[in-house]
Symmetry: C2
Subunit: 138 residues, 2 copies
Amino acid sequence: MEHAIRYSKKREAILDAIRSTHVHPTAEWVYQTLKPTHPDLSLGTVYRNLTFFREQGMIRSVGVIGGQEHFDGDLSPHSHFICLECGAVYDLPRPETLEGLDQRVSEHYGVQVDSCDLTLRGVCRKCLENRAEDDQAV
Amino acid sequence: MEHAIRYSKKREAILDAIRSTHVHPTAEWVYQTLKPTHPDLSLGTVYRNLTFFREQGMIRSVGVIGGQEHFDGDLSPHSHFICLECGAVYDLPRPETLEGLDQRVSEHYGVQVDSCDLTLRGVCRKCLENRAEDDQAV
DNA sequence: TTCGTTGCAAACATTTTGCAGTTTC
DNA sequence: GAAACTGCAAAATGTTTGCAACGAA
């Protein structure tokens, strides 16, 4: 027997929270967001469920940004842009040119490819605008 | 005045260590590797220099894998394959099809693009072979 | 002599875990 | 009723930092 999976309100709420946003949340964000409606929610439960969802392939990790792991409830193929200044994560369309890359790498190197992530880093528009304002102020 | 930079033996040794390997080291790896030849090296110094090198653009981060940040002293354009089973990081050639993507994204979204990383995840050949052996053993 | 660099250890921040109580099936 | 799930708090982990000593220029 593998391990039965049972329903839980908290779990459902956590998954809903992740799926209903585009901010690519952290555990802390989920916790703070659900606190008002679920006052007895524990941060440990959030972590346990995030791990659970990721292992189940229900969410994916965007990686650790500024010391905190960010998640994404949108499983459709797309890329990410991460602002090095404010840490925000934005979605980008995935270049069609990457189509078939998984299989090519798999065959060529004899490895099993499970996922393929394209991530751009830089400074987002907002932060660039803030910089411009700061410059004017001087 | 910006902040003068002075030479230091430890710093040189740390950079050499990173540049002379393909394992995509962590702070701990650098520390353990240099310990024999630099018995008085401190882990804090390794962290401080890794941060320094990254800020100077002398090395780049491969991301946090298994809780530890991995670095890469090879700045030439290439992609990475990360084994989800053993955590190893392998280099892959970077698809030429990504050429010019930085600028296209930059212009289209009004952002500043500093870097662009393509990362594949899955199970490496070694771990696949180990699996096969384990299956036979049963 | 100045001030960047280091060792050391304490401090930090995020994440994991043990256990007793609660909920689901 | 068995076993999964949770809250709570302690523990574990990787990383950062303050300070006095050291070393480069």
